[in-house]
């Protein structure tokens, strides 16, 4: 009985705040529904049918081309991927995570379940921007170059498959990825079209960026608009969310934080569009922090780590973390990425590096080869109208554009999964209205 009282109070309060928030005009933020979908993801009742059980193995592999491991990354010596095997010969689906993520995210678990249920062996791979990948599998240590990162991912996948093929009967190979992983998947297939080491048949990109750097710039902008840019702004955002969680928890009468209902907690904590946008932007910023720090460490650009005195795992990192929280992708591009690639890629310019982050680099493959597919949403936060048009024009009849979902907010829902499976099977005939 008591619980109802607390809940009613929390709920009434939330609604009151939501009404106030609605009167607050959002300044330059994406559509409210897109922000909500991006944060909440697909509601559980809309998820496509899932199998009862999915076996899972964790694969660790040491790759001979990895660069010398800095002391502070001692734990990243081996690349980790996850594999679900069918008990009969089956096609293999390789699924690649989005920016900064490892090979076992909740989104990958959803895709793994639907693909396994449809009869695939499933190998889920980390993003080449995942800090563990950068340390264990990258030839550069400087993440962000679409072709080079995908090249490293291609070789890592190849090394894993060399082991798996000895034990598992694979009848066909398809590749998928969400967000940045979608772009990586397509580039993987384009590399394979020349080298035939994996024999990739079809590729499906789920909510891919068109220009990697433009999309990242958009997320930086989202951060600036929703949270701010000064240390005081970030501190304010943190305090706002902290007291909301604390007050919600105090009213919930639970003893341990992990026992609270997450849905209810999110409803009580995130009120305005700026809150939702802030959480999305912060999630990206946290990924960027590791990319920036590691890139600087490997490239020896000296932004955070003095190349002559490499950091030790015992060193406090709080000041670096504070500084990194305010650093944008643009700054990473200028201070680490460009200097590194100008020194290592003959003939490269700042402009050419920027241009190379676009899916254009495999534009011809995307246009000519009928085995590339894409799924995206008309309100995806990481695309602008021109980029969406480019995807539509380039992939012609091989792209499904859903009306709502924001960025990945409909991943795993019935329509998305049905279309994805048909695309992989080569039976997709076009988006159903």
């Amino acid at each position: 009985m008591n619980r109802f009282r607390w809940l009613s109070a929390v709920w009434a309060l939330t609604h009151l705040l939501a009404v106030q928030a609605a009167e607050d005009p959002p300044a330059g933020l994406p559509d409210s529904a897109a922000l909500h979908a991006t944060v909440y993801g697909t509601p559980p009742q809309d998820i496509a049918p899932l199998p009862a059980t999915v076996p899972l193995q964790e694969i660790d592999i040491a790759l001979p081309w990895a660069r010398p491991l800095p002391a502070v990354l001692w734990f990243d010596r081996r690349l980790r991927a996850w594999f679900s095997v069918q008990d009969k010969p089956a096609p293999l689906a390789i699924v690649i995570a989005g920016t900064g993520s490892d090979g076992n995210t909740a989104r990958l678990a959803t895709l793994r379940a639907t693909l396994y249920g449809a009869g695939y062996h499933v190998l889920t791979m980390p993003s080449p921007t995942f800090p563990g990948f950068v340390a264990s599998a990258s030839t550069t240590g400087v993440a962000g170059d679409l072709m080079q990162d995908s090249r490293d991912l291609y070789d890592a996948t190849r090394a894993i498959l060399a082991h798996l093929r000895a034990k598992v009967r694979i009848t066909d190979v398809d590749v998928l990825g969400y967000s940045l992983g979608g772009a990586n998947a397509a580039v993987l297939k384009s590399i394979d079209a020349r080298e035939h080491a994996l024999n990739i048949h079809r590729a499906v990109m789920i909510n891919p960026p068109v220009s990697l750097f433009a999309s990242m710039g958009r997320l930086d902008q989202l951060f600036a608009r929703s949270i701010g840019t000064s240390p005081a702004d970030i501190d304010h955002f943190y305090r706002r969310l902290f007291v909301r969680v604390a007050n919600y928890f105090r009213a919930s009468e639970q003893v341990r934080l992990e026992d609270t209902n997450l849905y209810a907690a999110a409803a009580a904590v995130l009120h305005t569009d700026a809150d939702f946008a802030g959480v999305i932007a912060l999630d990206f910023r946290l990924s960027l922090m590791s990319i920036f720090y590691e890139g600087d460490l490997y490239a020896g650009t000296g932004v955070f780590s003095d190349p002559r005195h490499p950091p030790h795992p015992g060193d406090p990192t709080a000041p670096v973390v504070q500084e990194l929280l305010r650093k944008t992708f643009a700054e990473y591009f200028d201070r680490v990425f460009v200097p590194y690639y100008l020194a290592h890629r003959p003939g490269a310019t700042r402009e050419s590096l920027f241009a190379d982050s676009r899916l254009d680099i495999i534009g011809e493959c995307l246009r000519e080869d009928p085995d590339y597919f894409a799924q995206t949403n008309s309100d995806d936060l990481i695309l602008d109208a021109a980029e969406l048009d480019w995807l539509r024009a380039t992939l012609a009849g091989r792209i499904a554009v859903y009306e709502h979902g924001g960025h990945l907010g409909n991943l795993g829902d019935r329509q998305q999964v049905a279309d994805m499976l048909q695309m992989l099977a080569g039976t997709w005939t076009g988006a159903t209205p």
Partner: protein
């Protein structure tokens, strides 16, 4: 003697784990159960919606009695964390990671191959024993309702649940709410103090580390059914540890990030502070400077 043997074994395992440099290895994880997990998520959401609908009918804006005014943003602890022993803590964190990888996790993996009912029995058994400490601490916190609930659980599960092997009480909607001496200290106003990574156990604070030791000591003193001393103690304590590990999905360094230590410290101390806010008998003065690191 026995202690020396255990230490030697531990050292050998750590050494072996540190030297394992094979190029390719596969570890089988428990199978995922996506259909059941999603069904559970739907039920949870529906239950919440039902509660909300019910709550909406008698919606009242009167602040719930007894919990004091809501916190304000000024009262939130700073983003920094009080960690004067950082270098030692970082060393312990790394040691714990290696220990986990080399010994605890492989043992937990093997343990997980035992039949599920057996493991549930083990889990229930230890969980039932923990009610003793909870009852004592709820008493010390002057919180009658949850104290009586824990006592009730202990009586029901020890008798109907055959010595705690079956959790009959949860089936009767008497759910568990653990507490310990760390919570008691928080209730009476003690701050968490310095962040403290305890060898083998993991992240904690000085206060909660002391609380953990006090709970351990309480059990040792009471020595219920002679389970905490002699051979039984030597068998049960590691078994409890393995059982806890087998039920936790946490993996050291799964973030791959050079800032994992910072992230774990931040989240752990914030969680502790949020739980403290709900426990505290009187409202905090709010006089602490904004720059005072959290926990101090």
């Amino acid at each position: 003697m026995r202690r020396a043997g255990v230490l030697a074994l531990l050292g050998a395992a750590l050494l072996a784990g540190g030297c394992a440099t094979g190029g390719f290895s596969v570890r089988t994880l428990p199978a995922e159960t996506p259909a059941a997990d999603n069904a559970a998520a739907i039920r949870k959401l529906q239950a919440l919606q039902a509660e909300v609908a019910a709550a909406g009918e008698r919606a009242t804006l009167a602040p719930p009695a007894g919990i004091g005014p809501p916190l304000t943003a000024e009262e939130a602890p700073s983003m920094g964390t009080y960690d004067p022993w950082e270098r030692t803590n970082r060393f312990t964190y790394r040691f714990n990671a290696r220990f986990d990888e080399a010994l605890l996790l492989p043992v937990a993996d093997r343990y997980r191959r035992l039949p599920r009912p057996l493991r549930t029995g083990v889990r229930n058994f230890f969980s039932n024993l923990s009610e003793v400490v909870s009852v004592i601490n709820y008493t010390a916190q002057l919180r009658a309702a949850p104290g009586v609930r824990c006592l009730g659980r202990f009586v029901i599960n020890s008798t109907l649940g055959l010595g705690g092997l079956f959790d009959v009480a949860t089936g009767m909607h008497v759910t568990q709410a653990r507490t310990g001496f760390g919570n008691t200290l928080a209730r009476w106003g003690m701050q968490p103090g310095p962040y403290f990574v305890i060898p083998l156990l993991g992240p904690s604070t000085l206060r909660d580390g002391f609380g953990w030791a006090a709970d351990f000591g309480t059990n040792y003193l009471i020595n219920l059914a002679d389970l905490y001393r002699g051979t039984a103690g030597w068998v049960l304590t590691p078994l409890n540890g393995v059982d806890i590990r087998a039920n936790a999905s946490f993996r050291y360094y799964s973030t791959g990030s050079p800032f994992e230590y910072d992230a774990v410290r931040f989240l752990f101390v914030r969680k502790t502070l949020i739980e403290d806010e709900a426990l505290r008998l009187w409202h905090r003065s709010g006089k602490r400077g904004a720059q005072t690191p959290a926990g101090q």
